[in-house]
């Protein structure tokens, strides 16, 4: 058994133990938690299989050259615009952007652009933004964009460059 399976087993045992303790302390908890769990898992199942199929289709059909040209080393500053647009139109929970990032990386996108994409998908989601400005005002949204966007691009460039030197790789 490798380290990964051992740590996974330990985590699962701890979770089970915690749940058993909950059952004794608060008999209502497991049922309620189970219901929240079920509804959350359901919403994941409604999104994730499609996401993974789309990523696999991208993998077999999209030419590596195209990604390299636009998001790779030769992409220039426009790559970051693509990364922000791609991030803004990503749907579903935050974790969806991770397998997408891994697929882009495999096709030759550079690290600075990938970190920008991940950050953008947590900051500039278009549907969420519409919601935000209708409840909290357009000014609120503009401030958030104006502060976050330069910061996420700046920090992504720093992180990407630093990690590239260390031969860092994103796992599939």
């Amino acid at each position: 058994m490798n380290r990964k399976t051992i740590s996974l087993t330990v985590i699962i045992i701890i979770c089970m133990g915690a749940l058993a303790a909950l059952f004794v302390l608060d008999p209502e908890a497991p049922g309620a938690i189970g219901r929240i769990f079920a509804s959350n898992i359901l919403s994941m199942l409604k999104i994730l299989p499609f996401v993974f199929i789309l990523i696999a289709l991208f993998d077999v059909w999209v030419n590596r050259e195209i990604i390299e040209r636009h998001l790779g080393e030769e992409g220039g500053a426009v790559s970051f615009l693509w990364a922000v647009l791609l991030g803004g139109t990503t749907v579903g929970p935050m974790i969806v952007c991770l397998p997408v990032a891994a697929a882009l990386y495999k096709k030759g996108a550079r690290l600075t652009v990938i970190f920008t994409y991940i950050a953008a998908s947590t900051v500039v989601r278009v549907p969420m933004t519409l919601f935000e400005s209708s409840y909290l005002g357009v000014k609120f949204t503009i401030i958030r964009y104006a502060v976050s966007l330069p910061l996420i691009i700046g920090t992504s460039v720093l992180m990407g460059r630093g990690l590239q030197k260390k031969n860092y790789e994103i796992k599939e």
Binding site: N40, K46, F50, I53, L98, A119, R125, E132
Partner: protein, 162 residues
């Protein structure tokens, strides 16, 4: 809504793919299944954590922690709360509207919604599978600082600090 768009888009593209090349499409489907199965254990752990946290801290209980007297302290706790909470945007923003109407400063709301979206402690089990633990922690730390910065600038722009 998202589901309808996503599922029909997938269906159409998959159909086109199969018409063009059956073998390649089968390969893609197998690849998708394999990758999905690989990440499922971590997703299970994540959802269990979410369910436990949501049970003990439902959104309306959380909002009680955001209305404190000291706005700097409230801002900081809002950022911390945002990192462990996982509330979808369509609940978080109306909640933000309610908070504002009950007198919570904009900077506190900005701290909460920004860190809610950008930082995710509960998603770490999934994130580390792709980025590795060190880089995931680094990304979340950087996002935490950015969320705080957004909150401070929001406070300045709404005249809540000066």
């Amino acid at each position: 809504m998202e589901f309808i768009i996503l599922s029909s888009l997938t269906a159409v593209l998959l159909l086109i793919s199969f018409l063009k090349d059956r073998k390649k499409s089968m390969k893609a489907l197998k690849m998708a299944g394999k990758r999905l199965l690989k990440i499922v254990p971590m997703i299970l752990i994540m959802v269990i954590l979410i369910a436990i946290i949501l049970y003990y801290f439902p959104p309306d209980v959380m909002s009680r922690y955001l209305g404190g007297e000291n706005r700097w302290l409230a801002m900081l706790s809002a950022t911390v709360l945002g990192t462990i909470a996982l509330i979808p945007g369509f609940i978080a923003f109306p909640l933000g509207g309610v908070l504002r109407d009950s007198g919570v400063p904009y900077m506190v709301i900005a701290a909460f919604t920004s860190s809610l979206m950008m930082v995710g402690l509960l998603t770490l089990p999934v994130e580390k599978q792709y980025l590795g633990m060190k880089v995931s922690l680094l990304r979340n730390l950087v996002s935490f600082v950015i969320a705080l910065t957004v909150a401070v600038v929001t406070g300045i722009c709404y005249g809540e600090i000066f």
